[in-house]
Amino acid sequence: MTLIATIVPLQATVFGLVALGAAAVVLTRDPLRQIVVSGLYGLILVATFVVLQAPDVALSMLVVSTVAYPLVVLAAIARVRGGKSEQHEPEPDREEAGSP
């Protein structure tokens, strides 16, 4: 009773958007902007689950990826930066590159 579906154009479109969105999240370097981009990526995934006819999963994805997760990350970033300006600090990993 297996049923092998073929990918219809709408599904191909959302899969393409998922690939683009995931790349966009990774390529965004500033964590604050990354929250917004990852929220948009979450919305793309919501659309994907709707297209794949999984509305319950879409709802879970919606509340977690666009509401709950950004809020907690935002709070964490606010705490880490401690109200300082939004300048990037040099990554500590770079310093040990030359040591044996």
């Binding site: 709802l59 606010a78 109200g83």
Partner: protein, 247 residues
Amino acid sequence: MTRRTRIVIFAAAGLGLGALLGWSLAGIPHFGDYRGPYGYILNRIVVPERHTTNVVGATVFDVRGFDTMGEEFILFAAVMGVVLLLRGTSPRSEADEAVEWVGSDALRVVATLTVGAAVLVGLWLVAFGYVTPGGGFQGGVAVASGAALLYFAFTMRSFRPFADEQLMDPLEATGAGAFVVVGLAALVSGMHFLHNLFGPGTTGTLRSGGSIALVNWAVGLEVAAALLTLYSLFLREYVVPLARSRT
């Protein structure tokens, strides 16, 4: 470790990972090829046996209700851990909590309307969780997040009454406990733990699914209270004190 050594190690590890990934990708089932029997079985038995039109809801709250109870207590324990770590570590400051971050009246009007709508949508998602897509978890998060908008558009002082710990702690415990009570009630009646106690009701209405409605509301209550507690703690400990450093 020098840069060269690192690159050599990465190249070896990357090749190994790539080979394994390629091997596993070559063997994955085709798109849409579902092999497990459970999905088909559930689709066939849930509506005739439970009269709930949302098969996912009935699966989560009845067929595998015991797993859902475990998941509920994972959230309960996680929030309890956060509460133990964060609650009461910094003194409350009325001045900080009254700081208004948003100066736009238009944004406040939109937020005021959205708070009500979001909470209502959340309650609807919980209530109809086993009839249409939704359920206690999704609805609970929506309710809590709707209330959290009060902080973002107004002040911590506006949000605080909706996340009051005197109210949220008992509510969260009630939600988590009610799930177990429903399970034990079946045990007392001489059936299996979490056995569906009531008749299946009328298909496609709120009076379908028997115990599913009770368990669903218990989860909704637990999740909403847990997230309100979580939001309140994160905002108070991490975000509100920033008001002091910004002004």
